[in-house]
């Protein structure tokens, strides 16, 4: 059995490892996203756009190196808040596909309804944390039918994004688009697994 002080040190190390790993994973996804654009522009010989986007990648990495947008302590989102991510995803997916409203309108509708949830009980701290989680889930529901063919796909992607949201509480604070980034990570991973399952016959 390890001493308490030793145990504390190990758990701190684990927290730090999780934080560093998630930061690095986010930057990798961002770079992948932009490199795909540059590759496509290279194919169609649109040189100027390629150069502009390559410049944006470099600035982004400089920002990652020099900006101070992370908390030093290691905090995680509560489990009861994160559980609302798949619910938001399923709601938005229903509006998008079965209601035929289109991605933008269904997300905006879900987000507007979610943002009025804290009005139900203004004293409750729990209700105040719900709108970002539901809004994050609704981005998953924006996916088109080709990417997300079934409701189970959306639920799995929602659960995975919930885990990402849980981990990424103390990094990239207050940057708009973090919720979308988290949703994108979930959809990307699940669609990769789905692709392996369908095309490689695993």
């Amino acid at each position: 059995m390890t001493k308490p002080s030793n145990r504390l040190k190990t758990s701190k190390k684990t927290h730090k490892a999780i934080q560093v790993f998630s930061k690095f994973a986010i930057m990798c996804v961002l770079t992948l996203f932009t490199i795909m654009i540059v590759l496509e522009k290279y194919k169609t010989h649109a040189l100027e756009s390629g150069i502009i986007i390559a410049l944006i990648i470099i600035t982004m990495w400089l920002g990652y190196k020099y900006l101070d947008v992370h908390l030093n302590e290691y905090t995680y989102e509560e489990f009861l808040v994160v559980i609302w991510v798949p619910i938001g995803a399923v709601l938005c997916y229903f509006l998008n596909i079965y209601g035929a409203l289109g991605g933008v309108l269904s997300t905006a509708l879900t987000g507007t309804v979610a943002s009025f949830l804290p009005v139900l009980n203004t004293k409750s701290e729990y209700l105040k944390k719900l709108p970002p989680a539901i809004y994050c889930g609704s981005f998953i529901g924006m996916s088109s039918v080709e990417i997300a063919p079934s409701i189970s796909f959306v639920i799995v992607a929602g659960i995975l994004s919930g885990v990402f949201l849980l981990v990424s509480k103390s990094i990239f604070l207050g940057i708009g688009g973090k919720l979308g980034m988290v949703a994108f990570g979930g959809v990307l991973m699940v669609s990769f697994v789905y692709w392996c399952y369908i095309w490689l016959g695993l």
Binding site: V29, I56, G63, V104, S143, S144, A183, F184
Partner: protein, 148 residues
């Protein structure tokens, strides 16, 4: 002309969301969702007002730019940086790759890249010394064998 309109939409989306969020104190989610709901409902009800490219792309560009406006006032304090972020967002949006078409969250990722790039600009230019220092250390490390 279409490109110009998309860039204007990006700037408007970012600044109006930031205004509703910070000055009217409505919270980031409500500011973004409510404004996008208004814009997308407008184009849902009047689909023949503009050409098909704009009808399809203006609501999408607007909701993406509104994610840029969800930034907290601690990270970005002046509207000029928001306008720059909106322009960068529109440039990436216009050039977006077809590989990630239909993925949920791709717009948020675009907004994230635009904001990170914008926030890097003042920091990088004000800390010129630090970077030059870094380059000096790098040069020292690169040529250390020759010096010895």
């Amino acid at each position: 002309m279409n490109t110009f309109i998309i860039i204007i939409t990006g700037i408007l989306g970012a600044t109006s969301t930031f205004y509703v969020n910070e000055h009217l104190k409505q919270g980031a989610v409500r500011a973004s969702a409510l404004l996008s709901l208004c814009v997308s409902l407008f184009f849902y009800c009047l689909p023949d007002l503009l050409n098909s490219y704009l009808t399809q792309n203006i609501p999408t560009a607007f909701i993406g730019a509104s994610f840029v406006g969800m930034v907290s006032s601690k990270a970005i304090s002046h509207y000029k940086w928001l306008i720059l972020a909106g322009i960068i967002f529109s440039i990436i949006y216009i050039n977006k790759s077809t590989f990630f078409k239909g993925y949920g969250g791709a717009l948020g990722t675009t907004a994230f890249i635009a904001l990170l790039a914008t926030m890097a600009i003042p920091v990088v230019f004000s800390r010129k010394k630090k970077i030059t220092n870094g380059i000096l250390i790098f040069r020292k490390w690169l040529f250390r064998d020759k010096d010895e």
